[in-house]
Symmetry: C2
Subunit: 592 residues, 2 copies
């Protein structure tokens, strides 16, 4: 295993640009300058300047992503578990940059900065900024470092918004993008929570129309905003586990109006802490930028907005994240898939809510580390430390079907492998047929392995449909010993021959002589080489023979292009429905 260390002492740096009269023109049309961005870097830039990764931060984050500023710092940077020697963003290999956003209050130009026109803080005279403005400012910083092409732009939450904006706005300037616990737009509920936070700040009598610098400032209002936001970062599950109905100090109600439950004290603390490090006006401006975020706006569709994107994409969501729910990530994933982009997606099972992007480090490291490694070294074999995890199906019937399936696929075609497990068939297809492949897998463990090894795989359950894919999206769909496990075979096969020109699938033959004789002579549910499970534990959901499948295809107007009976019996090809253990088919839609 590679060593994992903390990066040690780091220092914030500053870059200033857009000096008048060369101000930056914001999306609103307003001009802003000079602009300073606070940033930190970790690791060394290669002489070729080809190993740089930009990390973008969330609403309340800053440039300090890893390491410590002083030896006695209690806490390291906000994504320290992900950035450092031997970590997912391995600073032994990569040059990692993180900058505080435009509009922020942690060293970058924002509402608390001095307005050169008045020599006083901007306050709410600061122009509104957007995620796009933040990204354009970052681009200036990256250019000033002499970097033309980033290996990756990666971020969680609002950082994911910036990463996505980067990939769309500067498609040539990055090789990959990593979007974690984020979205392509702010929805009504997200805007609503932000709006309540802003209302709390502006309701504070110390807000003074934003001109509170020098005075006490809207600490109570900002604290309320932060407390509310903090609830949305956790989950019901994690709050129950962490706080339950515990009292702070006593065993019984005190019957007064003060905070008495542990969760109240915790929120009070979060609010108080935040007020000490964050500017209320920045909170207004940054939440507003998030609310404006909608990459599909001004385009015909999200798909069209993403059509020019060139980067390899990794998207990660978390099951209990109700602030940026998985479905929002999935909308990006399927739009990218429709546009034939290289995209991988994992919906990580987690109880931590939105904060999971800071806490599910093991899974995130495997996904991100392998993904970035393969972006940096596209020809690399599986990334270091990979232990391929074969799914049950793969273990059972690997040799039989894969070689025959691979032989049926034309070189350089586009293949969708359904139920791809850890990607063995996909990898074989890539190696032997140079295909452009995408896998679908519903189990997290093999999926993570597949993504880690550089394959494009989407976390999805085929039974929930392929409606997100347009017609003829792929040359082939492959299902190796998966069709009998599917709940809705009728719907799924129809969909597969719609989205792919041909579907190659294999399944165990239920009319094999060994099955027939067990049922007929013994009167039992069969257990054979092809159907090795007992009736009560089988993962197979449907049992059908070659004859059944032929009839099924006729009913569905599906053309059987090839039928390849599989098995070692000498009569396999003469009487397939009796002697074939398994069957391999190439089918397509009749109406093509």
């Amino acid at each position: 295993m590679p060593r994992e260390e903390n990066i040690g002492l780091v220092k914030t740096q500053f870059y200033t640009f857009a000096d008048p009269p060369h101000e930056m023109v914001l999306e609103s049309g307003e001009k802003l300058g000079p602009i300073t961005l606070a940033y930190e870097t970790y690791g060394d830039l290669t002489p070729e300047k080809d190993n740089a990764i930009l990390i973008t931060h969330a609403l309340s984050g800053d440039a300090h992503v890893a390491g410590t500023h002083r030896v006695d710092d209690r806490k390291p940077g906000w994504w320290d578990a992900m950035v450092g020697p031997g970590k997912a963003f391995d600073t032994d290999k990569y040059f990692v940059i993180c900058s505080n956003v435009l509009g922020g209050c942690r060293g970058s130009t924002g509402p608390s900065s001095i307005n050169p026109a008045t020599d006083a803080p901007y306050g709410i005279d600061f122009p509104l900024v957007t995620i796009g403005d933040m990204v354009r400012a970052q681009k200036e910083l990256i250019a000033s470092l002499g970097i033309d092409i980033l290996l990756s732009v990666a971020g969680g939450s609002m950082g994911g918004m910036q990463a996505l904006d980067w990939a769309i706005r500067f498609p040539d300037a990055l090789k990959s993008v990593i979007i974690v616990a984020s979205t392509h737009l702010s929805g009504a509920q997200q805007i609503a929570f932000d709006a309540v936070g802003r209302n709390a700040i502006r309701a504070d009598s110390n807000f003074q129309s934003g001109a509170y610098y020098g005075g006490p400032g809207p600490a109570k209002g900002l604290s309320v905003a932060r407390m509310l936001a903090h609830i949305t970062y956790l989950s019901d599950e994690s709050m129950r586990a962490k706080f339950g109905r515990d009292f702070r100090a006593t065993d019984a109600p005190q019957y007064d109006l003060e905070s008495e439950y542990a969760v109240e004290t915790y929120l009070d603390y979060q609010g108080k802490q935040f007020v000490e490090r964050f500017d209320a006006n920045s909170y207004l401006y940054i939440t507003k930028a998030m609310d404006y975020f909608d990459v599909g706006a001004g385009h015909e569709s999200l798909d069209q907005a993403l059509s020019g994107l060139l980067a390899k994409v990794l998207i990660v969501s978390f099951s209990s994240d109700w602030l940026y729910p998985p479905y929002q990530s999935e909308e990006i994933v399927y739009a990218l898939a429709r546009e034939r982009k290289n995209v991988s997606y994992c919906a990580v099972q987690s109880d931590y809510g939105h904060d999971a992007f800071l806490l599910e480090i093991d899974t995130l490291s495997r996904l991100v580390g392998g993904f970035v490694h393969h972006v940096a070294c596209p020809s690399a074999a599986a990334a270091p430390g990979v232990q391929p995890t074969a799914s049950a199906e793969e273990q059972r019937d690997e040799s039989a079907g894969y070689t025959s399936m691979v032989e049926l696929v034309k070189p350089h075609s586009r293949v969708l492998d359904v139920g791809c497990g850890s990607g063995k068939l996909l990898a074989k297809l890539v190696e032997e047929r140079q295909i452009v492949g995408m896998g679908l897998e519903r189990s997290q463990a093999p999926l993570v392995t597949a993504v880690h090894s550089g394959l494009s795989v989407i976390h999805a359950d085929i039974d929930e449909g392929l409606a997100a894919f347009p017609d003829n999206c792929f040359d082939y769909a492959t299902l190796s010993m998966t069709f009998q496990v599917i709940e809705h075979p009728r719907l799924v096969l129809k969909e597969l021959v719609r989205v792919a020109n041909k579907c190659i699938l294999s399944f165990p033959n239920f009319a094999h002589w060994s099955v027939r004789s067990q049922v007929f002579f013994e009167g039992i549910s069969p257990i054979t080489k092809g159907l090795p499970y007992s009736w009560d534990t089988t993962p197979n959901r449907h049992f059908f023979s070659i004859k059944d499948f032929r009839k099924f295809c006729r009913q569905l107007d599906i053309r059987i292009e090839k039928e390849i009976p599989m098995g070692s019996h000498p009569l396999t090809h003469l009487w397939p429905n009796v002697f074939a253990k398994d069957a391999l088919y190439v089918v397509s839609a009749m109406n093509r």
Copy 2:
């Protein structure tokens, strides 16, 4: 169909009690008096005073549940759709009462009332009240009306808390209780949202330590609290559908800090409206009462807290309610089931979030209307307007199994019917064997029918387990043609013989001669009278014969007490595994 009408003009009434020196002693130990409760009544009380229903309201509700106060009222009472002639709470039959809670600000004594000790409003000198205090005050009101036993106490949200408290506190005083979108305790997330709301109010400089009467009052803070709460009453789905990213007035961002999205304007409006009708101190006190709510506190367990309850219980939750999620209702349901109480439960599929209890009127009316009808007339046949909806299983194989099953059940026993559909077998068992029955059903439509017709049925998926039930909870568990549909038969059967002394189950015999010959001679997946579905559309998940089932029971240490081969063939009993179409078993655990 019965006529459904609005109740017309109604008037709020007032009842005052606890005059000094006979003050009410609150749960906190403080004394309070005099206490006035505002209340309204609808319909007529019978001379026997046996048709009264108490409806309890939510946080921001009041006594005005139905009808209008003035002919030109824009809006009727808050549950007008449920209360009136021909409605679920049918005022042609029932005498409906609703009172504003203690601590409220809509006519009942609360922080805005005059403190007789000072002749000024109480403000935060008002003593803290609990849900229990609210209920005890309501009991005084009910007693003053001469009512000893209520037909039902029913409420949603905080109203559900009061209803549950009623059933526990005064078990003899009510025949039934209806708890909608509620909980048995406030969890960490619920307390957290309440705490943020209270912080917003107290952060307002006009709060003046609660002594704001006569002044402007903490309108901004209360408005923020209401806006936040309002988000929790909706769902992500309903907000997306209602607002999306629509702007209020324009097509594009205005790049200023004002509300510009439709959802912001909506929340602004909700906040503003609320401030006009609600007292901020009451908001503090009532949310605090909700936070204190935990019926299990002070007891060994929730089960023990519910052990003395006598009322028939109906619990309803809503799938998208994330403020009072279904799992909280289910905790009450299973605690009641363990205590052998008569309980029915439906988790209504809805996109409306917590507000569904005000909006899913059709489903709620069927559930509540039928339930109350059968409480009022326990011997009644199915309630008026019932169209029994048989499940697929019931339609398929009704005659065959039911009669034989019923014959196997001893009179007056306790029966759990798994996959009960609309309750035909249960009804037959009740009628012919006078059993105490409970059904489990996972589909909403047949479940609603079963509850409507007065049966005790719980919305549950048997594959998610029976872990909530203790050993020997039932005399029998019955599964009519359900076992082959279950995903985890091993787990489920083990559980069934644990929770019930005997399990009576029937299934189609996979080794019937017609199955054998189709598999052997035709080489197809069988379609027979017993197994009538084609392989690709069958709801059956497992295929097994009488021989398979015998072996299965041996492996699981399950005793076969009776094996009844079913079918018309003369050799059915001689060679069951060849000639029985179906099989009926009585099994039990070996280790009893």
